[in-house]
Amino acid sequence: MINFQSSGKRTLKNLAAGKLKIDVLDCTLANGSVTPTIPGINWIPIKPATNAAFCAALVQKIIADKTYNADAISFTTQKAAVEGGYGAYTNATYLVIVDENHPNYRKLMRAADAGIDAPEEKDKDGKAVEQYVVIDAATGQPTLHSACSKGTLEFEGEVNGVAVRTGFSLLTETVNEYTMDEYAEITGVSVEDLERIAREYTSHGTRVGICHKGGSAASVNGIDTVMGAAVLHAIVGANQMIGGNAPNSPAPTTTGNGARYKLGAIEGKPDVSTKNACYISRTVKAWEKTDEYKNRVAAGEKDPKPLMPWFANGAASDSQALLSIVNKYPYQAKILTSFMCNTIQATPGAMRDEVVERLCDPEVLPLHIVCDVFVGEHAQYADYIVPDVTPYESFGLPTTGTTFTGYGTTVRWQVKEPESMKLADGRHASWETFLADVAEACGLPGWGEGALHDVDGKAWPLRDAADFYLKAVANLAYAEEPVADIDAQEAHLQGLDELPDSFKAAVSDEEWPKVQSVLSRGGRYWPMSYVHDADGRRSRGYQDENQTYFYSEKRATNKNCYSGKQLPGTLRYNPETFTDLSPMEDHFSREEYPFSASEHKPRFRSISMLSNSPVMRDLCSHNYIELNREDAADLGIKDGDKVCATTPLGDVSEGVAMVRAGQVKGAFALAFGYEHQNYGAQDIEVDGKATKGDPAIAAGVRIHQMLDPTVTGVTGDDVISIIAENDAASPGRCGGMFKIEKA
């Protein structure tokens, strides 16, 4: 998550001084980041779900003009890059097997494929180090990537009788699958702008960057946005360079094994991991590797298909987990817990009657426990609600959002006594207290008496949040150089000398004044000079491995579990597809459904929160369906009209039109977090006392995305599945197909 205040404050001064230029590629001109009063910053409207096309267009132009940094992308190891004055390397020169009949087709060439003897090298975890093959730039001969410092970027030929090409050569091909005119048509960004940005981007050495965040990849083809930005950073050598793409938010270890407490170590932890268990979200495992697949093949089934998609390259996915739960596939969730989230509303297309009905069915989900401060979207469908603490009453050590390159960590702590019930032993009800008590009742290792250990081996109890997080604060206080003890006068000013006894008891007497010192600042940040070095690299950790994949073997070898299709391993614009990788436009007419959608951060709500705040509702009672002026004129829609955006499957998002110039043509947008069903919008009754729901909390509109028609009701009669990213497993939030009409 980007930190907007930090990035805004840091960029504004340089923009005003004419030392910085920013192009903001966004479907919607939102929230005032681009204003006529600030020079050097432009808004370039772009259509949703086309960011990869934008990146590919830039890369095409950069390769055509040879304005890339050939040095930086040719280094074959981190060591070579560091010696060459950079902080990162790529696999652009690594050879890829392109012989369709080779058993390792689409994989990177290994030493054995090339018939080269490789030294047996093991990494620090004892895993064998892979030896890839490159064409040594110095000799023109095939060699191991670790045996030379630079590889040849452009090579297409045979090594050891095997047809191979470099990742760079494959990239050149995939970014040239569309012409600049076609990229302009796809993205809505003019050829002139695409070429201007490509030139500008390659005119400042390594002091350029692309700041792209989750939303830019929140579409069914989103992974190529991520890959595009990665390639663009690497192609000019900007990774780990000051003014370029320095890593975000480096911080000392606090909640893990830190300077004072080993909070990550748990004795007697059960052996359950991705090695012997599957995520219910069907991620981190290829369909062909599942027991189900093997059993069905053994039973004689040819090419069996799963009920719901598996995502070999996807990480743990909460949206897919939710859909798995309502489908009871690949297994049933017996107990579901949640806190600080609203997965059902945040998963596009999931908050619908069919899903809610199943969540309410104890045969589908036997026990549902939700920890919340209000009866939110999840709590409404719970069996038990555990009272939670608010951010003023809870602990947490979050690092600053991305785009911050300094060193340190914020400490959020219990600045006021929680208003949740006080238990007999003085603790307050909260998510942490609940987990600690359930853990003790179940006899789980790592909880209760003697659960935590300091660096000297002394054991400490774990019964609530303070026990854990204040030790994490001690880790922060002692990181690098220990901080000074708190000044008595300052402790008095903030009332830190009157904190609960349990706080002081959570750490040693020696540590407590240093912990107080960190609490008094709400965290600990080192001066910026701590991370910057003189030669333009990030001084802390630039020697550490930082490799960019020009060619992703994992992507290239990921076989779609329904169609068997594979996407290229290099950056390419892939039009939006359904789960089986068939293009959406093969199923439905773009002429009939010409609009796509995007959501943006609201000013007057927060994610799925704050519709319950009267102040926020006074400022803005509902959001809008934001439409471009020309589109609205074509549709005969006026500002303030009630309009419907409807998918080919009949899902309707209904709201009030805001007709504006600050919206890209061909797409509509809305601020996220509106149209709640619960969270105070619903009637509730506690101990017989009824409270009427407030319809103002439900005001506004959210995007009702379509379900995936290639899976829903297809792979099984009652299967419900969302549109999602083939590799990342993330849901298709932006994009899709809609027609817009007056309601």
Binding site: V272, Q320, Y331, P362, V411
Partner: protein, 258 residues
Amino acid sequence: MGSMDIDRRTFVSAMGALGALSVAGAALGSQPTAAVAAESAFPAPAKGKPVEASVDPKTGDVTVNEDVLVRYSGCVGCYCSCGNRVKLDRETGSVLGVGGNPYNPADAYPFLDFEAPLTEAYQSLSYANGKGNQLRGTICGRGNGTLDGYTQPDRITVPLKRAGKRGEGKWKAIGWDQLIKEVTEGGKLFAEIGEDREVMGFKELHDTKTPMNPDEPGLGPVSNQLVMLGSRSDGRGSFSSRFASTFGTINAYGHSSS
């Protein structure tokens, strides 16, 4: 403003009075009152929330109002992870207001050095020493609205148990011990509302050895059927992931993919 023909000299002295009056977020709101007060030589009316300190605009001297505690912490108005400053009534412990944290680069830039004394933090919120609006931390509307959201009267403070069909919106308050006992022991938890179903509690589900499905042992043990959703950059995920790993489930999900 009460007087539009205020001359420059009077205005400057009014601003001086303002600087001395308030260094906090309430400053703008109290500006007309202060200006009027200075011109008419009446004291500023005592209304609104107390300010935490005054800063002499000329010398930068800080006079702290000891009735008000200023604690620096972190905001969860959204997931940007800004720092914040929470003003509390020393006597009651209630929150008077929230603002930015000048020590935190997420909401102040440049930011105060960790070792800078708290007096500098107070000064950073005033115009004294030329530091105003440079080092002052800020918090956005969401961060302020969060305080409003969390102080609504329908806040849940005790455990609630379903007293009707799931989703029907009927609840009854129960004690903490009953909550822990029921969810860990399981049983016919909803017999009193006519549900005969046996519910598996945490204890029975905590079987880290037996495969949940003998035909598909790769799905994991019985304990992997606990699914936990929640947390993102609020920094509270450590507890959930610790619980999940000690319980024997890999199904702990942050809000990363919804």
